[in-house]
Subunit: 479 residues, 2 copies
């Protein structure tokens, strides 16, 4: 046995025995050298061995951390939701704005944030692409691209679809100022005031706001934290009512993290095609999968042009660049026209920058790194929740994205929890903002996109304690 | 008398005698030297003298042109509009999209365009600002600025308001993706479906589309091509109906080019304050005034926070950068919240670039140059219209912006004219797109923002001929 194998074996034992616990930081290479009188190469090799075995992980610029074990997961997953049937007028609360305001304190721990840690983005490479693209920019393109947008970017986007096996025409792509306007434009293209729209329960609050603004009724359909919307119930809704559209997140749904299996997506698309109902597919998290295989989009099963696939580079590459799009099927021309009247066009320089970045081949390696980081961060946070939250908590275990959904014991009020956590410098997203009826009052969404650190772990401990404090004494026990 | 004075006198005489006519190009400096055996300095000095006398103008990278004389203006100005009273549901036509499609041919003459010639923008300086700003950008700002936007830019904007004598709070400024989303957000903040909104007649087609999308009724009020909306009629509307808002362009209205005198703006603001009706003030052309004095905004007279001043850098500096804002008075917080749900935020890199550009002091010199160019281009086109359009034509004479409005003889159908001109590679904007009822069928808007050239003059000649062709033989005479 070599020296590094011996050192790795020693550490593996310490992890197995619980001396090092999930989320703990191993000694840095320098520390290990000093403490044990061994060379850096020996430490690196040992750590590499442990990493290959899945026992530890590297956090860039932060250190080596012990991975959670699946057997550590003592809390169950959330149950599928059971929203009241029938359409209702949406009434959104101001709470969303309070949460966004709470995110503006850098010193806080932003577990209520919709964004990941910005240092996970390749900001330097992007800046180089922006500078290069501006140098090559034809003055007339600033007028030519109003309104259709950068053609090279469209080409790069079409290439990515093709890599995933989906062949689309350039005319189907409408470039927008991020995914959010794409979603709004698609909704405007297929609905008129008074129509009903199917949404998940819980759902992304922007969908609720959009429905309210356009005087649309919401039909909430039961949704499972693992596999997404319930197709049997959706089929019933389609038979009994005539919704103008469905607005769904097929991959790593916000807030549940649910991933609709690909065969279920195929069934969904076939079901909607039978009823002639358009699907607004919000797929902004689809690239952030764990493991080796990209999940499909519902769009990839669309044969009749009813699926409007909306996404962006905001979650994966550059939130501030505001570059998104929709592949809007048979509605593309109408969406393009609405865009002309609502926002004229996207931003030319940042579109050109992202087109150049994609063309230079930087995106795939970046995505691979990002996916690994997010998977590690999620594992660490899930493990911390299992250790620090009281019995009666349920927690989702998404296969991608950067949100986990917690169903807390019935007695817990998530809005009270939000304010109590805010007072301690920790933000969370309370359940009621994800519901047309203000339901999910004992649920919260946590962001796992922040770099894992003792400070973040401490924030999880604090929330766990605040939850326990809201429960009757007898039932508040943690392991 | 020096040599250059003699040469200048000779040319002045040739202009007075009609040998050189308005819009004609003088010999280039090189040509004059060769033809007359004089030195370049002599020619430059002579041309400078003529320019100082207002007889000729310099078009950058194009040459020296003879200015029109006011006495050349034989056609009268348009009469104030007289729209039907009462509110109506808006029904916009697809024609707007046909026009935009016609603008995508670079080889054409884009007199139907809403944009100026892109070479009039300081693209190199802006690029330098963008590169510099990106170098200094804090990674966290990409998250911090979502959604409020770049604080330095807000500061620069507040400074500009202050220079114009208007003191605003930072909290009143909402940065948006160009002026268009600002207008839509302001409208959404103060109206609900079924409400009535006062607009000018004719009006910018985006206002019509916005009203239609939100199921709002339009109340069109008579508007004069010189001084804007008729305040007496507006007062009647305010007394008899309860409009939820007014949406007006106070400075260089699109399409008329009208400029509301500052005292009239003060009266307008006072009138609306008495009735508690908010004003959505679209002021995207306000910086493009002729002469020495900037026109005020209605906002500058606002004491109660009812005016939402919407504008951008898209008409004056960088259309593709998509940086606009509203100073939204008492509605600012609400508009900011709507923005969060509709578009999240503006584009961070281009906001930072424009902030840097403003801070470096480049904007004022650029604006001075741009105003001079636009004034010269307008003079040349107005002169050409007077020379090449048949009797019975009326043409506006705006004091800024880059549109002129033509009321053609009654028999002329502007939509037919649009298609006929398109077939000859010339685009124009026909009147009906500016009306909720499809009126102004004998009117067109021409863009004077293209660099003046024989090709542009030829386009004016062609349109004039097409107009004459639509008239009965007896009445179609030009000078």
């Amino acid at each position: 046995m070599t020296l590094y194998e011996a050192y790795a074996g020693e550490l593996a034992e310490a992890i197995a025995s619980g001396l090092f616990r999930p989320g703990d930081r191993l000694p840095s290479v320098r520390e290990a050298c000093r403490q044990r009188g061994i060379s850096p190469v020996t430490v690196f090799k040992a750590y590499y061995l442990l990493e290959a075995d899945g026992l530890i992980r590297v956090a860039p610029r932060s250190g080596y951390y012990v991975n959670p074990k699946p057997s550590d997961h003592r809390l169950p997953e959330p149950k599928p939701s059971s929203p009241k049937p029938g359409g209702i007028r949406v009434d959104t609360s101001d709470l969303v704005y309070d949460i966004h305001a709470s995110l503006r304190q850098r010193s806080g721990v932003l577990l209520g944030s919709p964004f990941i840690d910005p240092t996970l983005f390749p900001l330097d490479r992007l800046r180089q692409s922006l500078v290069g693209a501006m140098r090559r920019l034809d003055p007339w393109s600033t007028v030519d691209d109003l309104p259709p947008g950068n053609r090279n970017l469209k080409r790069q986007i079409l290439k990515r679809y093709l890599m995933h096996g989906t062949k689309l025409a350039e005319s189907e792509i409408v470039l927008t100022h991020g995914a959010m306007p794409a979603l709004h434009l698609c909704l405007a293209a297929v609905t008129k005031p008074g129509d009903a729209v199917v949404i998940e329960s819980p759902t992304f609050y922007v969908a609720l706001e959009a429905l309210q603004r356009r005087s649309l009724k919401a039909i909430e359909v039961a949704t499972d934290a693992r596999e997404g919307i319930d197709l049997h119930r959706l089929a019933k809704v389609l038979e009994n009512r005539r919704p103008a559209a469905c607005w769904l997140m097929t991959n790593f749904q916000n807030p549940l993290g649910s991933l609709m299996p690909d065969r279920k997506k195929r069934d969904l698309v076939a079901l909607l095609a039978r009823h002639g109902v358009p699907l607004i597919e919000d797929d902004v998290y689809g690239e952030l999968y764990q493991g080796d295989t990209a999940p499909a989009s519902a769009k990839s099963f669309d044969r009749v042009g009813l699926v409007m696939h909306c996404t962006s580079f905001s979650k994966t590459l550059a939130p501030g660049y505001r570059v998104g799009w929709t592949a809007a099927g048979r509605f593309a021309a109408q969406v393009e026209r609405l865009k002309l009247m609502m926002q004229l066009t996207g931003t030319i320089p940042t579109q050109a920058a992202i087109a150049a970045y994609l063309q230079d081949g930087g995106y795939e390696p970046h995505l691979r790194r990002l996916r690994r980081s997010l998977a590690d961060q999620q594992a660490a946070m899930v493990s911390a929740v299992h250790r620090h939250f009281p019995d009666g908590t349920r927690v989702s275990l998404p296969q991608g994205g950067y949100f986990i959904w917690l169903e807390l014991p019935k007695q817990v009020n998530a809005v009270d929890l939000f304010w109590a956590a805010s007072a301690q410098g920790v933000s969370i997203a309370p359940g009621p903002i994800f519901s047309a009826r203000g339901e999910f009052r004992n649920c919260i969404r946590l962001n796992t996109g922040q770099l894992w650190s003792p400070k973040v772990e401490d924030a999880v401990v604090r929330i766990g304690r605040l939850v326990a404090r809201q429960m009757p004494r007898s039932s508040a026990s943690t392991h």
